[in-house]
Amino acid sequence: MTAVDIALFATVIGSIVLFGGAAALALGWAFRDGQFDNFDRGAKSIFSPDEPIGEATDAFPGMPPRLRKTPRPGEPTAV
């Protein structure tokens, strides 16, 4: 086995260990940190008081603000 072969094997094995190890570490950290404890909160984390759930945030230029409003999920909208 030449030095080049050894280097290639080291690259392949090292990559597998690095890739798999990093994924395992990330998953373990996420569990320990409670990232998967509350999915509802996670889904809502991109909204903020000025861009809350229920408000659309994009329109063609010149369209009026009222088009942004949509009924919020879970709120009673049907009589």
Partner: protein
Amino acid sequence: MNLPPFSVGPAGATRETNIEIQTLAALHMPVTTAPEPPQYDRVKSAAERAAIDASCRGPVLFFASSAVFWLLTGSMLALLASVKLHIPYFFTGSAELTFGRVRMAHLQAVGIGWASLASVSACLWLMCRLSRAELIYPKMLYLAGVLWNIGVFLAVVGIILGDGQSVEWLDAPPYAPPFFVAALGIVSAWTVAVFRRRREPHVYVTQWYLLGAVFWFPWLYLVAQFMIFWSPAVGVVQPIVNWWFGHNVLGLWFTPVALGSAYYLIPKIIGRPIHSYYLSIIGFWSLALFYSWAGMHHLIGGPIPAWLATASTVGSMMMFIPVLAVAINHHMTLLGHFHRLRYSPALRFTVFGAISYTLVSFQGSLMALKDVSATTHFTHYIVAHAHLGAYAFVSMIMFGLFYYMVPRLTGREWPNRTLIRIHFWCAAVGITTYFVALSIGGWWQGRMMNNPDIPFAKIVAYLLPHWLTRSLAGLLLTTGHVAFAISFVMNLAGWGKQRSGGPTFFVESVEQKTYPPP
């Protein structure tokens, strides 16, 4: 848009508004809303996001501008290559403009230029926003942008001058990759640095995708460079590494960034959380687990160990899990909000891209079956599939992201809605035509090539109208790109209307009304 108001609804409302109100009223659905957050919180939150956007404005717009430049360059090269297939004597006198060089230069311009630079701007902006953290030391990112652009320039010009290397996706001359590697290192480090400075404790699914992308791509690129060029592996190991890279650059670089963008943009634009956040997490981790297995299906029928191709076919089938997770999630999130596609340019492009992701992934998994591959391999069916992924999925989502992101960074509206519509329809019709023409042509090309009784010249003649259609589709796509570039430059130049609520746009209070049933 000053259209005459209907009889129902507030005076001065537009036709679209009133149609919505009338529809809800007809369904006995009062337009009610939950209590608004206090004004103080709204202003504070808007100010925080404005500061975050301001911190990353320069580098993100630099990467975005470079991406648009390479999109135009790549489009011209693509058109040239496409025309040469049905008009073979077009520019024949020039060695620099032969099909082989121009096509490789196109791939580098749009792959490492447009799509990658757009992905970098997406990574930086989305990571800053989702982490609720400002970008630090932005000058280093300018340096990364300059290095990346030098790399793409050397790759495109080097290939045109004849220095290209015959390795798909890695065809840049040897003097270009060091620039990419250095730039990629800086970009990855800065994305992770922003994440580490996050004020938002929750890691949103988009952040998982972005972190995966900035970890996977440098690793893929370095290993592929090492094993193919710097210390070349022997024999069939080289194509194995080549297609391990070639496939993963799509699935572990472009796909996570594009999906991450869609997971942010769709709920954010329509104002509704993801349908199943649980499913989105499953989607990410199953992509991470299965995607890197799939690359060897490009070598089915080639001289590689049979178990390797079979393992890749299995990996490709397993990709149904993340794809279904994403498809269900996006569709269910949008359910009841499809009318928003009329009003939001960013949503229009993003949803087109998300639907294309489902299509291209299902198609890709089926193409990994050996029986299907026996017909489609080495035909234009593959070209159609590649463009469905790289353009209809990735590029369309990147366009959607740009339409959402750029006005928030420049503080100006898009100058002209007609240009946006031209862009969308040219892109949508163009890529659909492209895909259909080459898929049909490629499938029959494969069937005929498998029949030894059919002369090769007859197959070439059969493909001529399909190639012509491809050129026309390419012309449409390029027209859309020009419209997009004009909008982009006008916005950067400050020709668009200034946003009324500052760079965050939506700080002004939104009118609340309740309409009783008729």
